[in-house]
């Protein structure tokens, strides 16, 4: 029974990881501008890779490897999110204008006070 | 004292370790005092030269000096193997290198930014280390490692003045040199897959019985392509004129006298130590490649000489002259006759001294009055007699007129060609010599027989540390021309051994 539960969990996590990766890739290809592309591609790393690693942890059972994998997960989440933030911020600061639908009035630029 | 004489024979690795130690400490030493770099490099080169020359009695054509690094026997570990040719190269490298370091002192003070001077000497020591290591190693992969060091350092030394043209020439050199390094690495990989070994002698043993002859043949072709670029053989010589003429003059002397010889030593090792005439029985590639190389050598003689004649720039002319001599040396080595091999090896020595002297003279001309064009050398014979006479004597050697080393070298090369019945090579090589005489004596003519009406009194002899090395090298060509018998019998024995393998 426990075997079945574990396998189901692993399969589910792997599938969700694949879904996130697929979504991330499609988003990267289909989204109109940098800001929009950042959104799916960071999810790709955090959720996709992390669920696959979680699946691996469940599959391997508890050992020293799990600690390493957990560390990898942690740093993956950290670095991917921070990278997305840094890219978006520097694009915004260097004046990349967000995309807007043709014919629709764009949002006025956000006021950000510079420290 | 006797202990000091024996230490190099006990531990030949010191030939590499000592200059490397000096190179590693040179930037640290320079933090204390920038001007202390020159004596430091000088000390390093002197110790190395002493170690190299103390080996002279220990190596003979029949007896090579071997040393197993880390104590592992050859197929498993790396072996240093100093045979007679290796010892000859090491002695040339240390002697010419010592003179070049001495010559550099005033030249780089004048030519380089002061913060680059320590790195200049570091690079100089590194390139010496690598060339010595390249000449004495018995291991193919170690050869490649050493080749990488002297390649990278020579790119840097060409570009060190920071002028735009220098950087461009160095980049061209880098592109061709990196490709050739890659080719050599590929060749080593091919040979490793065919023989499973990296030691040269072991490979040559394995090649006698290997069932992968075609792989070894492809490796041979790749080796020849790779080392030809380093040696600046005719179709792949295009980097040489730019790099050698734009580099600082001591560097030009170093590159021309020693670094391109490394390509030749590489070819020599591959042709005769690794494959050997014995390989010809197993695959026709060996003879084919040797034939191609000797034709290319003749082509380099003629093309180099023809291009040298039409140059107006002094250093560019000398650079083209190097291509001519690479042709002579390789012609001697590939004619496969004992005398030809002797002539080729002897020409390495003759050309190192002659061409080193040429570039040193060119450097003095640039140091004193920034004269680069040949017609600017009017009247130099009167204002700078030592320099002009050094050039003239070296020119005699480069052209091949007795009693100089160059004559002996060419004599033996042509003798070898005649012995093998290759009279067409003799004729073509003699035409090359004639062209060489034209471009060399044109300069001598300008120096001695045309004069500026009012000789510029400020343009007298350069510093003694600059013209003395040039004069010493010129004297060396005469010395080895007269006392050629110091080397010829041993070289003959070595050549006989090499061709019998």
């Amino acid at each position: 029974m426990a075997e079945v539960v574990r396998n189901v969990l692993v399969a589910a996590l792997c599938c969700s990881g694949i879904v996130f990766f697929l979504g991330g890739t499609v988003g990267l290809l289909r989204c109109p501008d940098l800001y929009a592309r950042l959104h799916p591609s960071t999810k790709c790393d955090t959720l996709g890779a992390c669920s696959v690693i979680l699946a691996l942890i469940i599959l391997s059972g508890f050992s020293m490897v799990v600690l390493k994998l957990l560390a990898v997960t942690f740093f993956l989440m950290l670095s991917s999110a921070v990278c997305g933030h840094a890219i978006g911020r520097s694009a915004f600061k260097s004046g990349v204008v967000p995309w807007h639908k043709p014919g629709v009035e764009p949002l006025p630029p956000m006021e950000v006070e510079e420290p | 004292m006797s202990w000091a004489l024996g230490v190099a024979a006990d531990h030949p690795v010191l030939l590499v370790a000592v200059p490397l130690l000096f190179a590693a400490l040179c930037p640290i030493w320079a933090m204390w005092k920038r001007s202390a770099c020159f004596p430091w490099a000088m000390a390093g080169m002197s110790v190395t030269a002493f170690l190299a020359w103390s080996l002279i009695g220990d190596v003979s054509p029949r007896r090579a000096l071997t040393y197993n690094l880390s104590g592992w026997r050859p197929p498993w570990g790396i072996q240093i193997r100093i045979d007679y040719v290796g010892l000859l190269m090491v002695c040339i490298i240390t002697a010419v290198g010592l003179l070049i370091v001495l010559y550099s002192w005033r030249y780089v003070e004048h030519d380089l930014k002061p913060e680059r001077v320590p790195y200049y000497y570091t690079l100089l020591l590194l390139i010496m280390t690598a060339m010595i290591g390249f000449s004495v190693t018995g291991d193919l992969f170690n050869m490649f490692v050493m080749m990488e060091i002297f390649s990278i350092t020579s790119y840097a030394l060409v570009a060190i003045s920071g002028m735009k043209e220098a950087v461009r020439a160095a980049f061209k050199y880098l592109l061709m040199g990196a490709t050739s390094s890659l080719t050599v690495l590929l060749a080593i990989a091919f040979l490793y897959s065919a023989t499973g070994s990296l030691n040269m002698l072991d490979i040559s043993l394995q090649l006698k019985s290997t069932s992968y002859v075609q792989v070894a043949a492809v490796a041979l072709i790749l080796f020849v392509v790779g080392f030809s670029v380093k040696a600046a053989l005719f179709p792949v010589h295009v980097w040489l004129p730019d790099a050698h003429s734009i580099a600082p003059s001591p560097v030009s002397a170093l590159l021309s006298a020693l670094v391109i010889k490394m390509g030749i030593i590489g070819l020599f090792r591959v042709f005769f130590t690794v494959y050997g005439p014995g390989f010809a029985a197993r695959s026709g590639t060996w003879n084919g490649v040797i034939d191609v190389v000797s034709w290319l050598a003749v082509a380099s003689i003629l093309v180099g000489a023809a291009l040298a004649i039409i140059q107006r720039d002094f250093k560019v002319m000398i650079a083209y002259s190097s291509i001519v001599h690479i042709g002579y040396i390789l012609l001697g080595l590939t004619v496969l006759s004992g005398n030809g091999t002797v002539g080729g090896l002897f020409d390495i020595l003759a050309h190192a001294m002659g061409k080193g002297c040429f570039f040193m003279v060119a450097g003095i001309m640039i140091y004193k009055g920034n004269r680069r064009q040949i017609h600017e050398l009017r009247g130099v014979g009167r204002t700078m007699p030592v320099t002009a006479w050094a050039f003239t004597i070296a020119a005699l050697s480069i052209v091949g007129i007795p009693p100089t080393a160059g004559f002996m070298a060419k004599f033996y090369i042509l003798w070898g060609c005649i012995q093998r019945g290759k009279y067409h090579f003799v004729v073509l090589a003699l035409i090359g010599s004639l062209l060489t005489a034209v471009y060399c004596f044109r300069v001598v003519y300008y120096m001695f027989f045309t004069g500026a009406r009012r000789p510029d009194a400020r343009l007298d002899e350069g510093p003694v540390t600059m013209y003395a090395p040039a004069a010493l090298l010129a004297a060396g060509t005469v010395f080895f021309g007269i006392f050629a018998n110091l080397l010829i019998p041993s070289l003959t024995a070595a050549a006989r051994l090499v061709l019998a393998r």
């Binding site: - | 197929p75 990278i152 492809v218």
Partner: protein, 251 residues
């Protein structure tokens, strides 16, 4: 015309290489020379002879340690080449793009880098010293050290990094990799064995083992620290904004 020539040359090279590869022993054959000649000794006796569980480390540091000394010198000469052409940065005065930019680096980024830098360093040291029983070694660890400090410099700017690790402190560390090899080699010579031999005579078996382990560790650390610092120095002299322009005219 030129294009055609290049294409023909490439085709000739490609055909030659493919011919050679086609004649090579097949990859999975157990009887090919590259698996039967030298390798069996490495695999069979490497662990006790070379003193490393990871055979690669044994080959790199012991059987072919002299080659590694050469490779380390290659890196050092690359550094000398870069410094000789681009010159070194000035302590605290050189600026990179971040120093010059008006926009301040995001607080999130700086915080995360501050937090992760020591962890990366720890991993680098682990890689350096753990090269003996597992994959890794000095060079890889050094590259990681270099990468982490380059990350720091990208985020905080060159002025801050050069204050933390000034050129004066880096110069002695750059040649540490060669000095590690040379000093271990000279120790061997002093004991009367060959250069880079790690088993010193005149010691007991256990003591000799310990000394060998120590010497290999010194060399690994030397390769790591030297390699890392060399990476850092190369990057620093490349990213500084106040570099000299190339001289246009012939002096």
């Amino acid at each position: 015309m030129k294009r055609l020539l290049v294409l023909v040359a490439l085709a000739v090279i490609g055909v030659t290489l493919l011919y050679g590869i086609g004649k090579m022993p097949p990859m999975d054959s157990r009887a090919s020379p590259d698996k039967t000649h030298v390798v069996p000794r490495y695999l069979g006796h490497g662990e006790e002879e070379a003193g490393a569980k990871n055979i690669i480390t044994g080959v790199i540091l012991n059987y072919r340690g002299y080659d590694t000394m050469g490779e380390v010198s290659v890196i050092f000469s690359a550094l000398c080449a870069v410094i000789a052409i681009l010159d070194r940065e000035k302590k605290g005065r050189s600026r990179s793009g971040v120093d010059a930019s008006r926009v301040r680096t995001s607080l999130i980024v700086t915080t995360v880098v501050r937090f992760s830098l020591p962890v990366v360093m720890l991993f680098a040291v682990y890689t350096m010293l753990h090269g003996e029983p597992s994959p890794g070694g000095g060079f890889q660890g050094g590259a990681i050290v270099g990468a982490s400090i380059i990350l720091f410099t990208i985020v905080f700017g060159l002025a801050v990094s050069t204050k933390r690790i000034p050129p004066g402190a880096r110069v002695p560390m750059e040649s540490v990799n060669m000095l590690g090899f040379l000093s271990m080699g000279f120790i061997g010579l002093a004991f009367g064995v060959q250069f880079l031999t790690y088993i010193l005579p005149g010691l007991g078996v256990a003591a000799a083992e310990t000394v060998r382990k120590l010497m290999l560790d010194v060399i690994e650390l030397g390769i790591g620290i030297g390699g890392g610092i060399i990476f850092i120095s190369i990057v620093f002299s490349m990213i500084r904004e106040d570099r000299y322009e190339l001289q246009q005219d012939v002096p």
